[in-house]
């Protein structure tokens, strides 16, 4: 509940007296301030639960079996329990980014001071659209970014508290909390990445960022090798600085796995990306890394054990992942280095400058002592001989790979099936753990892995305001058929380069394609017949037919930010504390679709859920059914009534666009068809709708063999029918008894649910 003092506090934080835009209805919204928006969204896109576990084991009343209509000892039912777990997952995801942001902002404030200005270059004036839209603050300094994180942290406490026994008991209210904290995940990511960009002088206001080498084969193992793992570049940039200071940048290889790799290449284009998260264990076990510097998130928790097995040493550098190690920031550097080199000891060093110095000194001494020998096919064949084909490996594989027969074939000298398994491997190592014969399965992979060098474009940060001005109109009118954002982890269902195939399909069709995180890496791991990767084939602008690497996980905020900027820069809607209006605009008028094909983490859950609150639908791969919850409509039965903002009257559009908000598909073929469909919006012009339907029909016919069953739902008038399919579609519509439907130029949810926002707020 907001009182006078609370209001005054908010006004002080957001500097209400600054008149850059009028303040909207929800400055720094509390948990329930956007509850009605959520309930309106979820009235159309109802939560769909697929319980991953029938039980609740969170308190000592239980375990309680919640199957069917059973309730727990506290009274909770299976739906509320699923929503509760989803809320917790989103809190974990958001807190990982907020924790990252808090650390990096404080670290940079120590370096540069609280008043260090936020300057994203001459092409980015709307510097933090998420912070502007949610808080109502136009951040000017690193200190302002810290204010955003303090607000997010306070909200996190409220939402985590709601998951305690005997608190929230309604699934939709839990979902509203998950949506709230996930919206704040995008605020946190934005604060983190903008701080990094200004603090480390990462690329900004430029599209054509450098292209860097990628792959384990790109790492020169004849040099000392430092591997950085995780997501936070504070320590890895210190390593680069130290190497530069000592004139060693060409003498030591710095390579990375996961987002720290992406961040480090934003700082030095001499750094190399080994690959996504799914290659972490594989690369560790090659022993190529001499020194491993870990920071935070998605690092294997057995990192030190794995490093010890191959004679590498670890420096943990984050308070979030201390790994039981001795903290040695205050001990003399040479003493620490000696223990690492002579005894293989791992240490925690929270002082990043010190950690960098230790890493470089240790790698220079350790590397000459180590042998880095990889196995070849002959050795792999020999090692595979002990396989008894017992299937134990297969039974524990989260990606359901046919490992047993593949390893048996390796023993016979046939490597093809095992190579295919490696391409689909998510890198957990459970197979090897389960093997009663101790077959070193990950070692065998060295014989089938490609040792090619691939290419990745360096992440470029925010989409530029000038780019938004150029594409805003065609996107909203539909003549650019959509923005497709490929995000998230590498828990892919099939071959790792399947994503590149999907990405190229949409780039070729002149969608705007953006990528972040592990997804941004893996599309560089496929070459065409001429040896070119997608980053070398397609332009890097935010424009039709281009492929943009936005950056790391925290750069995801620039994707939602771009959608907000379309509402702001193209449609002139004020962002300031105006979340409902902006989300309503994005949902109903911006043809954007997220794709998290290999989502694994809690962060991926909150990133996707944050997109959903903003009205961006997300297509997920099959593993994501284990997140337990989706947001689905039932296209034929549901009510698709919206307000016509111009006529100010309710209109039953009968059109399910976008059809779902969070949706799982099993195959790449279905994913492609679904992505094309999810870019359809009610405000498409007939010309825009023709283009979108042309892609939907063409993909559907090619991949599913026929016209879509639901095509009549997306044709409003004859003018929507693509020229190329005119005759065929007309006949099909006639057979299905199709009738024309209303066409709206200003569809909105505002006015269809209780809100303080007047209908006039959506009209500019």
């Amino acid at each position: 509940m907001e009182g006078k003092r609370k209001r005054e506090k908010i006004e002080k934080i957001i500097r209400a007296e600054d008149e850059w835009e009028p303040i909207g209805h929800t400055p720094m919204p509390h948990v329930t301030d956007l509850r009605n928006w959520d309930r309106r969204l979820l009235q159309t896109y109802k939560p769909f639960y697929a319980p991953f576990c029938d039980l609740c084991c969170l308190c000592t009343y239980g375990k309680c079996d919640l199957t069917g209509t059973n309730r727990g000892a506290c009274g909770i039912d299976i739906s509320s329990q699923q929503a509760r777990i989803v809320t917790l997952a989103c809190c974990m995801g958001m807190s990982a980014h907020a924790g990252h942001a808090a650390h990096i902002i404080d670290y940079l404030i120590e370096k540069h001071g609280e008043d260090y200005p936020i300057d994203l270059g001459d092409q980015v004036n709307v510097e933090c659209p998420n912070i502007r839209t949610v808080l109502g603050l136009k951040p000017e300094t690193l200190g302002d970014l810290r204010k955003a994180i303090e607000y997010c942290s306070e909200q996190l406490v409220h939402i985590v508290s709601s998951t305690h026994t005997g608190q929230e008991g309604d699934p939709v209210d839990y979902e509203s909390k998950a949506l709230h904290i996930s919206m704040l995940d995008h605020v946190s990511m934005e604060a983190a990445d903008v701080a990094q960009i200004v603090g480390f002088k990462f690329p900004t206001s430029v599209a054509d960022t450098p292209i860097v080498d990628m792959g384990w084969g790109a790492v020169d193992k004849s040099k000392p090798v430092i591997l950085v793992v995780g997501h936070n570049p504070a320590c890895s940039t210190e390593v680069i600085d130290y190497l530069r200071k000592e004139g060693l940048e060409d003498k030591v290889e710095v390579c990375g796995i996961c987002c720290t790799a992406l961040e480090t290449t934003r700082y030095s284009d001499k750094a190399k990306i080994v690959g996504p998260l799914s290659r972490q264990l594989f690369f560790l076990r090659t022993g190529i890394a001499d020194v491993i510097v870990s920071d935070e998130q998605c690092i294997r928790t057995d990192l030190t054990d794995e490093a010890s097995k191959v004679g590498s040493v670890v420096i943990a550098s984050s308070d979030k992942a201390c790994r039981g190690l001795e903290e040695v920031s205050d001990r003399p550097t040479d003493e620490v280095v000696k223990e690492m080199v002579d005894n293989g000891k791992h240490f925690l060093i929270l002082d990043h400058v010190k950690a960098a110095e230790v890493a470089v000194k240790a790698v220079l001494q350790l590397a000459p002592k180590r042998k880095k020998e990889l196995i070849d096919e002959n050795k792999a064949k020999e090692l595979a001989q002990s396989c008894k084909e017992c299937n134990s490996c297969e039974q524990v594989c989260p990606n359901l790979l046919p490992l047993s027969s593949a390893i048996k074939k390796v023993a016979e000298g046939d490597f093809e099936e095992f190579r295919s398994c490696f391409e689909r491997c998510i890198g957990c190592g459970k197979c090897e753990e389960a093997c009663p014969q101790d077959v070193p399965i990950f070692k065998l992979m060295q014989a089938v892995a490609s040792w090619d060098t691939w290419k990745c474009r360096v992440g470029r940060g925010p989409v530029m305001d000038t780019e938004i001005r150029k594409v805003g109109a065609p996107l909203v009118l539909g003549t650019i058929p959509g923005v497709v954002a490929f995000v998230g982890c590498s828990n892919f269902p099939e071959e790792i380069d399947e994503l590149a195939e999907i990405v190229e399909e949409f780039a070729r069709r002149k969608y705007i394609v953006v990528l972040t995180g592990c997804s941004a890496m893996v599309i560089g791991m496929r070459k065409d017949a001429e040896g070119k990767t997608l980053y070398e084939k397609y332009p890097p602008e935010f424009d039709a037919g281009c492929i943009v690497n936005i950056g790391s996980c925290v750069s995801n905020a620039h994707i939602t930010g771009a959608a907000m900027k379309i509402a702001n820069i193209f449609a002139n809607l004020p962002l300031r504390a105006n979340y409902e209006v902006i989300a309503d605009y994005v949902l109903n008028r911006v043809g954007a679709c997220g794709v998290a094909w290999g989502a694994m983490s809690q962060k991926a859950a909150s990133i996707a859920t944050g997109c959903n609150r903003l009205g961006i639908p997300v297509v997920l791969g099959p593993h994501s059914s284990k997140y337990r919850r989706l947001y689905l409509s039932r296209k034929e039965e549901d009510d698709w009534t919206v307000m016509d903002g111009r006529k100010k009257e309710l209109v039953d559009t009968q059109e399910p666009s976008p059809e779902h908000l969070a949706y799982v598909v099993e195959s790449k073929e279905r994913a492609m068809v679904t992505i094309a469909k999810f870019c359809i919006r009610k405000n498409d012009t007939p010309q825009g709708r023709q283009i979108k339907l042309n892609h939907y029909i063409d993909l559907h016919k090619r991949l599913l063999g026929a016209l879509p069953d639901d095509l009549p739902l997306f044709v409003r008038t004859e003018r929507d029918i693509p020229m190329f399919f005119k005759k065929e579609v007309r006949q099909y519509l006639q057979e299905k008894g199709w009738e024309p439907k209303p066409v709206l130029s200003l569809p909105t949810f505002i006015g269809t649910y209780p809100t303080k926002v007047p209908l006039d707020a959506v009209i500019k």
Partner: protein
């Protein structure tokens, strides 16, 4: 499914699929159902039993049992190539969402289905969809025809180590439905 006396100690839930090793009772369950539905996943296109794809067994089951087909993922294309037009192309999550509504009219508009037979899915995704139906669709039973045990189904095949056993069971079902 055996349970500990004090159910508070259970590990994964109390309701698990009946393991069905013989074709006859499975065929009988299908025959006795008023409105069965086959929900077909993309692994029917890659599972090969001798010279035939799993989807070909599914088509035979559909034909002899007069069972409507829901072709999920990209299976529709193969059905059409094999001369079969599926009744619907809802994807697995969509059809599951419809099935949990007892008032839904079913793929032929005759009322919701009382038996849903899943075949050809990734086991993880299939089991999640079956979990939804186990919890939210008490009005129907589910059956799986893959060679893996699906705990969230009502009736499931066991984990077959040998494909010959699986093939024999599928052929037995086809025979039983004639």
């Amino acid at each position: 499914m055996a349970h500990p006396y004090h159910l508070v100690n259970i590990l994964t839930g109390t309701k698990g699929a009946a393991e069905m090793k013989d074709a006859k009772p499975l065929a009988k369950i299908i025959t006795k159902s008023a409105r069965p539905l086959l929900v077909v996943g993309p692994r029917t296109l890659s599972f090969q039993l001798n010279e035939k794809l799993l989807i070909e067994y599914v088509i035979e089951i559909a034909k002899v049992g007069n069972i409507p087909i829901c072709a999920t993922a990209h299976t529709n294309k193969k059905f059409l190539e094999l001369g079969v037009t599926p009744d619907t192309t809802y994807d697995v999550i969509e059809i599951t969402n419809h099935l949990k509504d007892p008032e839904w009219k079913g793929v032929r508009g005759e009322g919701n289905h009382d038996l849903v037979v899943f075949v050809g899915f990734r086991t993880d995704l299939g089991n999640q969809a079956l979990s939804t139906l186990k919890h939210y669709a008490p009005h129907l039973n589910t059956m799986t025809l893959c060679k893996f045990y699906y705990p969230n189904a009502t009736f499931s095949l066991p984990n077959f180590r040998k494909d010959e056993e699986w093939k024999a069971l599928l052929e037995g079902i086809i025979e039983g439905l004639k």
